[in-house]
């Protein structure tokens, strides 16, 4: 099984990289972007028997800093 963990900055947390990307897109002539948020994707190849609850614990303890970040876990067989 595979878990794809998507980590994003929470709303309201300044994202300087997102702002830089937005600025670059604007400079390239892409006018249709109102906002950019950059996050990260972490893919876990899970050993048989690993539970979603364990993946959630991994997110809470290490993969995301829940002070500033939120996360989403997508499990695929």
């Amino acid at each position: 099984m595979r878990a794809v963990v998507t980590v994003s900055l929470k709303d309201g947390v300044l994202d300087p990289q997102g702002e830089a990307i937005k600025s670059a897109l604007g400079a390239m002539g892409f006018a249709g972007v109102d906002g950019v948020r950059q996050g990260k994707v972490i893919e876990l190849d899970l050993a048989p028997g690993t539970t979603e609850a364990q993946v959630t614990e991994m997110c809470e303890k290490l993969l995301a800093n829940t002070v500033i970040e939120s996360y989403r876990v997508d499990l695929t067989p």
Partner: protein, 222 residues
């Protein structure tokens, strides 16, 4: 004062920290991150600057899971003193020993320069030899020094006089110009600027010396 300086793979201010502590009279032991115990009788644990674990995942995140950080947590829970500078501050927030988080500088650039800080409180073992309102020149060097905390947390820091230092001219976007914060019991200080780089006349800056002397005085009897 007995001090332990933690050393992670990628720490690079650990020896500077030891030099500054020793100059203030401390007995210093360096402690590798895989150690599962602190030296006996340690009063202060210093978490130095650098790029622990290459800043992978988030600055300080992997160091915060090191075996020695469990001991750091226990030391703090016993009422022990701790000082985190730069990456050390990031480690202290990642362990949740200090509130808030440090994100990328608003400019997205690495900043390396000497800045003027305003000492906001003399009510701590770290700042007793300063006076509130003092201006001190301290170098900083970081890419993720932009302090963030939620509104309730910020209100608590202000109400409890726990902002130790503010930037005179905020270089990194930090909320409320915060450069350093104290724990609720005022025994843990985290700060982005490097007082250990301003503690020897040979380096041209000495405004950081008082921090180490304050600690040595407070902990001499501890």
């Amino acid at each position: 004062m007995k001090a332990a300086v933690l050393v992670f793979p990628g720490s690079n201010c650990d020896r500077d920290m030891a030099v500054a502590l020793r100059a203030a009279g401390a007995e210093v032991r360096m402690v590798w991150h895989k150690e599962s115990a602190l030296p006996g009788g340690v009063d202060l644990v210093a978490v130095p600057g650098g790029f622990s674990f290459g800043d992978y995942l988030r600055c300080g995140a992997i160091a915060a899971q090191s075996p020695i950080c469990r001991e750091l947590r226990a030391h703090v829970d016993r009422g022990g003193f701790a000082l985190g500078v730069c990456n050390g501050f990031q480690v202290l927030t990642e362990t949740r020993i200090l509130p808030g988080a440090l994100v990328q500088n608003a400019s997205t650039k690495f900043i390396c320069k000497t800045v003027t800080l305003r000492v906001e409180t003399a009510q701590s073992a770290f700042t007793a030899r300063y006076a509130a309102g003092d201006r001190i020149d301290i170098p900083l060097a970081h890419h993720e020094g932009n302090y963030r905390i939620d509104n309730a947390g910020l209100a608590a820091l202000r109400d409890e006089d726990r902002v130790a230092f503010r930037y005179e001219d905020t270089p990194n976007g930090a909320l409320d110009a915060i450069a350093g914060v104290l724990s609720a019991n005022r025994r843990v200080l985290g700060m982005m600027p490097h007082p250990e780089r301003a503690a020897d006349p040979a380096l041209g800056l000495t405004d950081g010396s008082a921090l180490f002397k304050s600690l040595a005085e407070a902990l001499v009897a501890a």
